[in-house]
């Protein structure tokens, strides 16, 4: 035990473990494991036939961390920044390093703005956002939503109650706000 020199014995011997568990001990030697040693020079550069890769064309000013010396030679081109969220994102990248909380908190805020910008934009299309189908919530009925939770001692059930508020809450508030503003505008137009 912890209070004396010897380690508590293991209940099963190596032979018993080998008999019970397929492959027990096949990687026993700590020096003979794929990621050992940690910094292991790869003589063939893993198939790379360059020492610095050719550069991918930059089709728009690509935002980048100011901790980089230059734009990396290869980068993703999904979802270029646009709108207010895009301005926030560009600000976060241009002004703050990854070491600053402001960098990440602005990016998180931009994500929320981005979601709303896109929800609103979707209402002007033939494919508006639909919180019912996009949350997949109907699978609660087809995939045993109640039975998967009731009496299972799941500790996550407590905070899952917050999920509908997180998802639907802003929509309800936005609808209430729009109704309020609509009523005020109508009242102002009424004579007298």
């Amino acid at each position: 035990m912890a209070y004396t020199p010897e380690k508590p014995p293991i209940a099963e011997s190596a032979d018993q473990l080998r008999a019970r568990i397929p492959g027990w001990g096949v990687d026993l030697d700590p020096k003979d494991r794929p990621s050992v040693p940690k910094l292991q020079y790869q003589d063939d550069l893993s198939g790379a036939h360059w020492t610095f890769p050719e550069r991918q064309p930059e089709k728009w000013p690509r935002e980048r961390s100011i901790e980089h010396k230059f734009l990396t030679p290869v980068f993703g081109t999904s979802c270029p920044p646009k709108g207010l969220s895009g301005m926030l994102r560009k600000l976060a990248y241009r002004k703050y390093s990854e070491g600053r909380a402001a960098h990440w908190l602005i990016l998180i805020a931009a994500d929320r703005v981005d979601a709303w910008e896109n929800h609103l934009r979707s209402f002007a299309t033939l494919h508006p956002d639909n919180p019912i189908t996009e949350t997949g919530v109907l699978s609660e009925f087809s995939r045993h939503g109640v039975a998967s939770r009731l009496g299972r001692k799941r500790t996550d059930v407590k905070h899952q109650l917050l999920d509908p508020i997180i998802v639907a809450g802003p929509w309800v508030l936005a609808a209430a706000g729009a109704a309020y503003l609509g009523r005020r505008a109508a009242a102002r137009r009424r004579p007298g």
Binding site: M1, D27, S78, D111, T135, V137
Partner: protein, 414 residues
């Protein structure tokens, strides 16, 4: 690496090579595909999206035949990872068939059946040259602290992922490998992240014969870490979770002792009791950013996004491991600060080891283990979701409905 055994005949073609039956579709301006698309926290849908194109001479376009949803995709789905943009396609676990290759690609040909590591990496930067493929410096302009990952926000480079019909695969000569003839698709897709990461997590523990290994989390990575710990000679493997159906899997699939932390007043005290008050030699955090077990930690991170992740499992790992022991972290965390009990780690003289798994470095050994029957990754697959039902797939996995452990995504499920 001697392992790859891939033909390296030079391709003389100066232009993109495309499979004949798809030439028309790929070259047609405005060609579209079906793809999962993020629409904001807790919301995803399938859209017609522009086909990916060759953007660099060493790119390939892969037609996805099978993908998976990873537990870490849920951090994106829940809006926890900074710079997750509406319109992005997730998915960093996928396999497929090479559809098109860029002019400098030498190691792959159109029609090859390939598995693609979740890491995007160049092979030649200081980090890749030393095997740290998860830390490549040439593929992610958005951050220096993390490498490139498919479909995992702009924080990891802004690449679309593989929960779609087609995907752009950068550095085709470096990342992907041909799938061995004998390997099942479902085993192959799990080798692109979950199995490799679990096995890597056990390695980070520096397990020696007879060690007591505690694995926090009985999701796919935790199950694979537990199974791998035995291969490295563990004397006891203990898995902790709160989902009974996953603990059952830990007992049957990973031969582990299991503890449901909701049944104990304090799981750390229980861990001490079960190890004669020494503590585990090695503890593995296979949970990451959305750990349960402390409501305040969970809500401030997963719901309010004020922490990079809920460090409940990590703090339990730190407190459960013995002094001088090792904590291995393969759970995914965001880049914002988290309330980690660092003082305990210092005072206990712990070794903390962690990284994004360099997947391709694990493959030769894991191929052997799968072929020898020591590891059968597809045993943990519980759901096969047609791409068109992706929203239900995310909800089932996120809400842990229907005994879900590992959902696969099937494009063109017919």
């Amino acid at each position: 690496m001697a392992w790859s055994g891939q033909a390296r005949g030079l391709r003389s073609a100066a232009s993109v090579v495309v499979s004949a039956d798809r030439t028309e579709r790929l070259s047609a301006k405005g060609a579209f595909m079906r793809a999962m698309v993020y629409r904001g926290p807790y919301k995803v849908r399938v859209e017609e999206k522009e086909m990916p194109a060759i953007e660099h001479p060493n790119d390939a376009i892969v037609r996805v035949t099978l993908a998976a949803i990873c537990g870490s995709d849920l951090h994106l789905y829940h809006g926890m990872m900074p710079d997750t943009r509406v319109g992005m396609t997730f998915g960093h676990e996928f396999i497929g068939v090479v559809e098109q290759v860029g002019p400098s690609v030498q190691n792959l040909s159109v029609g090859d059946r390939v598995m693609v590591p979740f890491n995007i990496f160049c092979g030649s930067c200081w980090f890749c040259a030393r095997g740290l493929y998860g830390n490549c410096h040439n593929v992610n302009p958005n951050a220096t602290a993390v490498g490139g990952i498919y479909g995992y926000s702009h924080t990891t480079g802004g690449y679309d992922g593989g929960q779609s019909e087609f995907v752009r695969v950068p550095f085709a000569d470096v990342g992907p490998s041909r799938i061995p003839e004998w390997m099942d698709d479902e085993d192959a897709v799990l080798l692109t992240d979950a199995l490799a990461t679990g096995y890597f997590g056990a390695q980070l523990g520096d397990i020696v014969e007879g060690d007591v290994v505690a694995v926090f989390g009985a999701g796919p990575v935790g199950l694979f870490a537990a199974k791998s710990a035995w291969l490295m000679g563990a004397g006891r493997v203990i898995v902790i979770d709160h989902l009974e159906y996953r603990l059952e899997k830990a007992r049957t699939f990973a031969h582990a002792e299991t503890y449901n932390f909701t049944e104990y007043d304090d799981i750390v005290v229980e861990m001490k009791k079960m190890t004669d008050h020494l503590g585990a030699d090695v503890a593995i955090d296979a949970v990451g950013a959305e750990a349960d077990g402390n409501l305040l930690q969970h809500i401030t991170s997963a719901k309010l996004k004020l922490q990079g992740g809920s460090p409940v499992a990590l703090n339990w790992a730190i407190d459960s491991v013995r002094k001088g022991g090792t904590v291995s972290v393969v759970g995914a965390y965001g880049p914002i600060f988290s309330a980690v009990k660092f003082g305990d780690a210092v005072n206990k003289g712990l070794t903390l080891r962690m990284n994004q798994c360099p997947v391709k470095r694990q493959w030769p050994r894991l191929f052997e283990h799968v072929r020898n029957g020591y590891l059968k990754p597809s045993d943990i697959v519980t759901h096969r979701i047609p791409l068109e039902h992706i929203a239900e797939g995310y909800h089932i996995f996120s809400a842990k409905l229907d005994g879900c452990i590992k959902p696969l995504v099937v494009p063109n499920a017919g």
